[in-house]
């Protein structure tokens, strides 16, 4: 059952939002880095450890069976969240980074060869660049990059031009963490599929802002992290289409991913277990299930509307600061406010805002090529979630005016 949208009430679900920082009420505007957790997630985590804890997939005793069931039931929740067709397509990993590395090393290493090309975009997070560079070094493949324009929008025709007969894999970010740009992934996937090229979508920044339907997108892989979706850190998801996952070799070897082991020959488990070697973050996955349950009680469209209004309001407020230059002005963007202030270093901005209790991010946001493209070292980034308020934006604006006053 969904609740009517009541921001003050909703904020009470998140204990961190009532904390202080440097003696001021905390204003948390670093949601692209990680999101805060609702009480139900924290409680699920502690309840599991307090009264339900056992390892999974092993014991014949009841506790272990219950833990296994609780863990496996989250697979179905994720399947529903992503609109996947089967739980078998949901692989639990540590996070987006591990999901991409898994695909690069398992799919990439077994399917790609010397001279093959992998296409990414100019706005990738390091975690969707470096795993492919490692793969390229290992097998002699070549990394290609589709460019963007000065607004931080991917150039569609350039993207299409980069799809060559040699392109054997496409890996693209759904929403840019440094710029907020939303890529038209459905269109990009169709372009790639028309040439028979599989596509991975890095959804780390998308899942907390947009509804995602992997079947509608028609992507082959989709990766995201629970900690950016109001769940615990240490848990992530790789969605993979059955036809692709099935023939892929294991990423890591060990317990849980096997059917039988002798010193001569090991039979691997079926998907998704084949890709989950060793004891996973059991409690984290189970608590992530609580996060998904929690999100399901909220009115999604109302939250999206609130965030869109907040983004518009914040953009207008900050735009009034003459020294401010936006980095990332895509028409389609999520609530990411990335900017530079003339003559003031982002770290100094970060420190001044810190003393006001405002948590923002100053730096390259693990997207150094994006910084290079705009000819800067770093930006200041405020990234919003549905629990942020207009008053918080007002405090951010006042903080930035103070920055200008000190350094202007």
């Amino acid at each position: 059952m969904t609740q009517p949208f009541d921001l003050a009430r909703l904020r009470q679900d998140f204990p961190m939002l009532a904390q202080t920082m440097r003696g001021k009420p905390l204003i948390y505007l670093d949601n692209a880095a990680s999101t805060q957790k609702p009480q139900v997630v924290i409680e699920r985590l502690t309840k599991f450890y307090r009264s339900e804890y056992a390892n999974i997939h092993r014991g014949v005793y009841e506790l272990s069976q219950n833990a296994t069931q609780a863990y496996e039931s989250v697979r179905e929740k994720v399947k529903n969240f992503l609109h996947a067709s089967s739980e078998r397509e949901i692989v639990f990993v540590r996070g987006t980074t591990e999901a991409i590395n898994l695909v690069a090393q398992s799919y990439g290493r077994s399917k790609l060869k010397v001279g093959d090309e992998i296409l990414i975009t100019a706005m990738e997070h390091h975690s969707n660049i470096v795993p492919w560079q490692l793969l390229c070094e290992q097998i002699g493949a070549v990394l290609r990059v589709a460019p963007m324009n000065q607004n931080g929008e991917l150039l569609l025709d350039e993207f299409e031009k980069k799809l060559s007969p040699k392109t054997k894999f496409v890996s693209i970010v759904h929403v840019s963490n440094a710029l907020g740009s939303i890529n038209p992934v459905k269109k990009l996937i169709a372009l790639a599929h028309a040439r028979g090229i599989p596509v991975l979508v890095d959804g780390a920044q998308a899942v907390s802002h947009l509804p995602v339907d992997v079947q509608d997108l028609d992507c082959d892989f989709y990766a995201f992290s629970a900690h950016k979706l109001f769940g615990p850190s240490g848990v992530g998801v790789l969605y993979g289409r059955t036809e692709l996952l099935n023939p892929m070799p294991p990423y890591q070897g060990g317990g849980d991913m096997i059917l039988s082991v002798t010193f001569e020959k090991t039979l691997f488990h079926e998907i998704p277990h084949k890709f989950e070697a060793g004891t996973p973050d059991i409690a984290g996955v189970i608590a992530f299930g609580a996060a998904l349950d929690y999100l399901a009680t909220l009115d999604g469209p109302a939250l999206q509307k609130h965030e869109a209004e907040l983004l518009e309001y914040a953009t207008k407020q900050l735009d009034a600061i003459p020294q401010l230059r936006w980095i990332g002005t895509a028409k389609e963007k999520t609530s990411v406010l990335s900017f530079v202030l003339d003559g003031v270093h982002p770290h100094d901005i970060g420190t001044v805002l810190d003393t006001e209790g405002i948590a923002i991010r100053a730096g390259h946001h693990c997207a150094q090529p994006v910084m290079d493209f705009f000819g800067i070292n770093a930006t200041t980034r405020a990234s919003l979630a549905f629990y942020n308020t207009r008053e918080e934006i007002d405090r951010l604006t006042a903080g930035l005016h103070k920055v200008v006053e000190i350094f202007g």
Binding site: V344, H345, G363, H364
Partner: protein, 150 residues
Amino acid sequence: MSDLRELYQEVILGHSKSPRNFGKLEGATHTGVGFNPLCGDKIHLQIRVRDGVIEALRFEGSGCAISTASASLMTEALQGKTVAEAEALFKKFHEMVTTPMGQPIDDAALNKLTVFSGVREFPVRVKCATLAWHTLHNAVSETSETAKTE
């Protein structure tokens, strides 16, 4: 606000806006490059040493107010000092910015450099304050490595 005024004292703001000894140095005998991977800030330091004495030093690069002011004030403080004295001053400076708040700092010999004592309240900014000094240390130790704050 008082923490902030402690950190961004007028001297620091002044030096960050118009850094002294900024630019290239003729006849440098030692050079160093410093890099802060956290923010991508970079500093190039050039030093002219004769008979163990620092005759002149200049720096280039872009950084935050703290790292720029620190480099600027360092170049002023080290002019005419011996290399050994410079290293000793780095040690004192480092001790000052890493002494926990509330504990007394030994500010003898630091003179103007004590303006950086406010950095103690902001541990992540210690790297900014010491980047130029680490770079100096590498330059005079004749290592070809880039000084890093991590």
